[in-house]
Symmetry: C2
Amino acid sequence: MDRRQKKTRNAIFKAFVKLLEKKTYSSLTVQDIIDEADIGRSTFYAHFETKDELLKAMCTDIFGHVFSEDIMTEEHHDFSVRHGFQDRLTHILCHLQENQQSIKGIFSGECGEIFMRYFKEYLFLMFDRHLSEDSEVPREYRLDHAVSSFAETVRWWLKEHSKYTPDEVSGFYISCVGNILDEEMTKHE
Amino acid sequence: MDRRQKKTRNAIFKAFVKLLEKKTYSSLTVQDIIDEADIGRSTFYAHFETKDELLKAMCTDIFGHVFSEDIMTEEHHDFSVRHGFQDRLTHILCHLQENQQSIKGIFSGECGEIFMRYFKEYLFLMFDRHLSEDSEVPREYRLDHAVSSFAETVRWWLKEHSKYTPDEVSGFYISCVGNILDEEMTKHE
DNA sequence: GAATTACCAAACAAAATGTTTTCTATCATA
DNA sequence: TATGATAGAAAACATTTTGTTTGGTAATTC
């Protein structure tokens, strides 16, 4: 990718994040972003068609890092390091914590809706294999419940309870939701 | 309240709901609402300062009905009808089901964020007294978890799983989250 | 019946959107 | 290092949306 493109794209992302700390998503105009990023009007539209597309691109960008390959792979071989499910959740939380300043404003604001939708898409893929099977409650409900709960846990954590460590938080989650997850996956080795 | 005011207010609400079935909240303009409701421009602004205020007003309106007084009262005397906590949840679900056509578009769309925020405000008040006390997990987390999970349960239900009855759905919820709720409140009498 | 109030229509300024054009600076590469 | 392709800047533009103001009409309240 052209170095100029990358520079501009980053300037836009950076401006976007900075502005989201002060203003709400809906009150944020393309003009604001253009001014803050200090780029030409036509340049912005060359990169993103709308403000929504920008948000979408940023979500993809961030989650590409947060959900690294080894987290998304379904099964680990016996001779590789065994990760309990909770460890993988903790891992995600650590990644999110690293990007915290970028993410916090997005998660809590009103664009949280879009952000959460993306987040949950990844979580669905990841959680799908780890539901316990014996239950009168429909599987589709339990999956939605497990995913939504974790997403909301993250929102809660980033919003105002950052005092807890990633491992503590994943522990809270497992304590409350663990009963609908596959037991093997929630136990530490 | 002036009959004309009520009429206009209703026309705006109705137009708003109707439009939300076709378009997203952010792509919806005040002008659209004005046209659909067939009212004067200045009339709209006499009622609501912004589109957001309209949404807020509608949330208040709907939840005023859904969370009726007897649901919100904290304790029931022994000689009145005893409601288990699940019964009260079922009751809320029934109310939501009645307003379904109005609510569905709001819950699932992007303005769901705002709607959910309001919904959860009421739920916080209601759930606060019904958490079990014995747990290593912080109370603040358990409360947020219980509330968020129920709100997400409702979203899930209205979105595409309306085939389940209110009582079934509250049952699913209690099955998954009941362990952090006060036992007495979850048992039917 | 009189005063108040809600509504409407129309016009308005201001701001935001999205596109187009022309020109310049930077890049990839041969 | 010369060259064609690409990215960006600046400015102008039509269009849309917003939010306010005006003056006049119809419904209501008392």
